[in-house]
Symmetry: D2
Subunit: 427 residues, 4 copies
């Protein structure tokens, strides 16, 4: 990649890093993405309800928070025109139609930051170089700033080389990957239904700079959900019998949730990660909130855990005479990369000569909702993969000191472009 593009890549990444936006509030990021794509000549830009199936949206914050962050986006350089077109749902899909026969190929780039306060330690490069987060409580601590930057620079190269390509390329800029909240609504909208090939990419993930993993399996199926127990307050000393104790309902649920039996056919996980209950020391607690996630190695196993969890929550509410609500806030499935596309990526990586280690397949063990997109494509006969682009990290994902090796960004763009050239010529 030439120096100018590399500098642009770094500039974009650092700009996004400085203004991190968490799930469903990526208005500045998405509006700048749209503007830059538009200026590159991408005239077919889909936004808002064109790219989201609203009932499948999960874990979106309250209107109040959305509005506040949309306003902040404007204050930080976001563009009103694009934001308005998003109808409150940040995200961009750019379509490059070459006009020549060929397959439809889609790539996913996620844009959101995480709920972490970035370190102010002077040894942290974003601090040294002045691009640390200016948004308290939010940080690009997972590398999505790099993903989005790569997507933009790839778009520039594709536009430049458009005449040499065939078929159609879709660049999907997704919000809300954290908490696995955004991809399902995009997949369910059908934007991938004509795709023959789909690629998602993540940097880092325990792989050092120079290592490439061309395909994956073993992502965990997961459901994230919030549970509210709504009981009744009463004075704990003077009328304890009049209360309906939501705190005890939640405690009983939490213990029994963690006691869900394992499954002989594969791994399970459950976590009550947050419990907040009660109002005052001397009041029978009328409210409790639990943030829960269930996981399983297959959809069957994940469904078993989730079903057991719902029984337990139902039982706990009955025990204490409370109401309860259960709201899904995110989900991901599992998939396996397809050999055909993995082969192409391995060949592309080898041809580049810049990867010290190339691996066909790995089981990362976490969850990514790109799996919903992969599954959607695969169910319709397309091929999909999930690439891990190694990048030596300063600290683990989601850590306040997280920082990745920026030298992998141009490697990633080059790889994707090389792969797209090959795929573009497929039947």
């Amino acid at each position: 990649m030439d120096k100018a593009l590399t500098e642009k890549l770094i500039f974009y990444r650092r700009d996004f890093h400085k203004y991190p936006e968490t799930a469903w509030t990526e208005f500045r990021t998405a509006s700048l993405v749209a503007e830059r794509l538009f200026r590159l000549g991408y005239t077919k830009l889909l936004l808002g309800r064109q790219i989201f199936y609203i009932p499948s949206i999960m874990g979106r914050p309250s209107k109040d928070i959305i509005d506040r962050h949309a306003k902040r986006a404007l204050d930080q350089g976001g563009l009103r025109e694009w934001i308005n077109k998003m109808e409150g749902y940040p995200g961009v899909v750019a379509i490059l139609e070459t006009g020549r026969p060929g397959p439809v190929v889609a790539l996913r780039f996620d844009m959101d930051a995480v709920d972490v306060s970035e370190t102010t330690n002077s040894s942290h490069i974003p601090v040294q170089e002045g691009f640390a987060s200016v948004n308290p409580g939010a940080m690009h601590a997972c590398g999505h700033d790099g993903h989005t930057a790569m997507g933009l620079v790839l778009a520039e190269i594709l536009k430049r080389e458009e005449s040499t390509l065939k078929g159609t390329i879709k660049l999907i800029f997704q919000p809300a990957e954290e908490g696995v909240r955004g991809a399902k609504a995009m997949a369910d909208r059908g934007i991938l239904d004509d795709c023959s090939y789909f690629i998602a990419l993540h940097l880092g993930m325990s792989n050092p700079t120079g290592k490439l993993t061309a395909g994956t399996h073993g992502f965990l199926c997961t459901t994230k959900f919030d549970v509210n127990f709504i009981g009744k307050a009463s004075h704990a000393g003077a009328a304890p019998q009049d209360g309906k104790n939501a705190l005890l309902a939640a405690c009983s649920a939490a213990l029994n949730l963690h006691a869900i039996a394992p499954h002989s056919r594969g791994m399970t996980r459950i976590n009550v990660g947050v419990l907040q209950a009660g109002e005052g020391r001397n009041v029978i607690p009328p409210k409790a909130l639990m943030k829960v996630e269930t996981r399983g190695e297959t959809e069957e196993i994940a469904a078993y855990v989730y079903s057991r969890a719902k029984d337990i929550i139902e039982g706990a509410a009955i025990m204490y005479g409370t109401e309860k609500t259960l709201q899904e806030t995110g989900s991901a499935t599992t998939t396996q990369s397809d050999g055909e596309i993995v082969d192409i990526i391995v060949d592309a990586a080898r041809s580049m000569g810049t990867f010290a280690e190339i691996e066909r397949d790995a089981a990362p063990g976490g969850s990514d909702d790109a799996t919903w997109m992969m599954k959607r494509v695969q169910e319709r006969g397309g091929k999909a993969t999930y690439i891990i682009l190694g990048s030596t990290l300063k600290a683990g994902h989601h850590n306040e000191c997280f920082d990745f090796d920026e030298t992998v960004l141009p490697m990633g763009v080059d790889l994707l472009y090389t792969v797209l050239r090959t795929l573009s010529k497929k039947q």
Copy 2:
């Protein structure tokens, strides 16, 4: 009381003590009671379904156990003819109709022993005198042997003095007071519905020999019940997901039952006294049994606790996908003795000169299902009381070393006879 009667009283008591029969198996005891009453000239003896409302019977053992104990009764001197008439429900009501106008007065004597193995210590008088229990696991450790003996000797005096009495006297020999299982079925059968006066009596209960309590309040309302959780076994290592864990359902229920909030208007109690669950170390436990009791100072409070308990058990079953059954095995209510009858008892006791201390009223704090009989009489306009006949004890009620002071037996009989003489003449 003359010496012959006193000796008979002691003889009866010791005979019953030697052959203790626990709740609903008092066939020997009841058949001997019937035979002795019959020989005294009591021709109106009611038995079986004449005195029990079958649907109100609680905590009756299995047919197998009933049959086995009925057979043992025969081996130990029980009388087949009377036992047959009992139709499997031991108990006797003797009616003395004087033929002269006057009120109907009823007295309750309970006959059952408790599930305790009597001490074999040589300092224990029943051991020294050779009348310790010969029935393993059963012992008259509450004094009902004395109650039944008093009832028989009182019957003899009443018969002897019949010509001086008026109205009708009913002597009720009740089974299954332990576990508060027998009285409700007798009350519900209506045998007390014509009574103007009702008296129940208990010896001991923390009062020493010479102290008399003429009335009571504050018996606790209680419900005793068994809960079964029926889940599904599976191999704990090879297929844990296939089980429905009744043990964990029971454990969760037990913890939350004990966490039922207290009540601001009076005392509550709950106890899971027994929990038995599981079949093998490596099997997900398919079955669990809990023996539970709830109590409250008033019927309202007791109902609150019982209702909460049912919710918790329901919730625990739902948590683990198990079936559940809840069977009531006993219950008692609370009542207050009536001043009119208390006055008569106090006067009678004073006139006797044998009581060192006479108390109008006390709150014993436990439960006795004679309260169902008292309540039935009171609801229909009659007067009722519960007398505590002090008797210095060797060890507390239900202890394996329990023994009472037999000298109180003739005092009790004399008191009841004196009271009956007065009541008999009431309008």
Copy 3:
């Protein structure tokens, strides 16, 4: 009381109402109290460490919060000179030494507000009259504004009538009665050790205007405490075994705390009013906070509950390998008012003719840390009482619509002055 004083009383009350300060932050209130007393001629004013035994202070907020509120106090009319003398511990003790022989009599006035946001409903008198709270989240919803105002006007009367009085009078303006946090440190400092008589007063408390209760018993002994479980975070999916789950430790503790067995000799209460645990949905929760209170009808029973609670918390920490801290944030004991002083109050109230109903004794059922002061005085041979000054309420104590009937304020001041005249002449 003359009209001018009555107006001053109302003015003071409304001023305090408008600027409510919660426990340990009563800098504006206390500094104005000190200034007004000083201007009345009270030269012997004790402040800071003169009136608090620091190790006995409970539930004091962080230095940060104290500093912030002290600064706000200055902004709202608090007086720097007095605040400085308080050394961070708001509170005032004024001593009126008549110079004539006579007893030492002390009165307690509490000054703090509660953590409630005052209603903005236009039917609420403080809203109508413009003296509703201007401090968000804080409100005089318990009536301590009235108490403090009464103390100030009583001080004025006492000063005016000083020449007719004997002995010594101590006016104690206490912070942090809410949460029972402040009185013990004042009692332990010894400021009451020379007192022959002690009076605390509370308005409202279910008594209507015109009713006076001259003495109390049955305040509940209570301990308030915060428990922190400190575990270890780990990724709930990738390394669950590396975590130490503070949330589950807290849940297990909460359930078992509520299951503490009741006590046969009197009432017990326990409440886990607040539980906050965890950091993120997919993180094994490393931290949990519980706000707990235990109560008992006597010190023995309260000690039983508290001791059981400590065992359970210890056990829960061991179960999950977490550290734990337990910090007492408040406590109150129980006492009984003394007949001698109750008699004097009843006589005074009768002589005034303004009370429609005068009651010698009641059991309010809650807790007030004035009990520590009463107990301190009684242990040294003094007499103490706790008066309830009826006042018809618009809504219950601690409710956002709480408002009392101001007409009781002059009645209260008159009563206290009348009582003090009598006590002042005692030997």
Copy 4:
């Protein structure tokens, strides 16, 4: 195998089947094994403390039960002389020393039955053929009757062919494999320390007749243990505060045990299979027993689960102020079969031509304490394997209808003999 031997094999199997003896009570079985071996000419028979390291014995019943079963063994044809030599520890090790140089090879045959009552259904072959269990509650429902029979017939063949063999052969007849209680004491006694090769064999285990698995990995490490909580009884109504509730300690422990976090490096299991607590409905339960097992895929993981379990049990005891005991009643480790010996078995099986399917390796997923013997041999440089001899089952292991296909018995004996011939000639 000739017909006479095959008939003997069936006869032995059915004889053992008819007189099943559960763990540590195999006196009849072991004495008949010893007698038959002795008659075959095995003069070197080790028994009692010669073959058991007593401190490593786990889960042995009480002396009372041992004595009762030893007596029953005599009644059912057991031989007093051999039983006496066993010193209460049934088991036999027969040593065949050829006198010619060669390796020491050991084989394990387990002899115990399980705690299951055999079906009386007429379709069950042991019922039809008259060899169903005559010992109530005990049944050879796992196939160890077949193992023991194979050991005896193999011994006969070996003795017959002794002159053609080299080295030393040890035939180990082990008690108490069920509950993984017996092997460790034999391994720890050192009886395998001179072995170059070790083979254990199990029939059935989901493999049909004709399938052979020559080696295994993935047996689960497990610890079986009993926990007793010893609290204090008190009357649940009259003095609940005086009790120490062992039932609630156990319930709290059970719930939290099942909530032990899984391990990212492999499978874990925990089961509280049995919980028995309490004495009477109205008594605070003073005692509770839990039967527990923990498992893990590796020793590290199993140690993690067991360590967590101990913390939880400790914490639960502290919560309720109870004493607690924890007694290990069984354990097994995990091992991997050695390729060298697996090769020999595969070759032998192929040469026989009677196995339709031959598999080198499988992960059975359960536990067998032969793993302790395998590990002991492997730690000293020897080679070991665990063979699964397919046998089509009528019902699963430990089911009351369990029955295997007897035609596999001669196949198993032939296989072992063929393998021994090869091993015998190894250096």
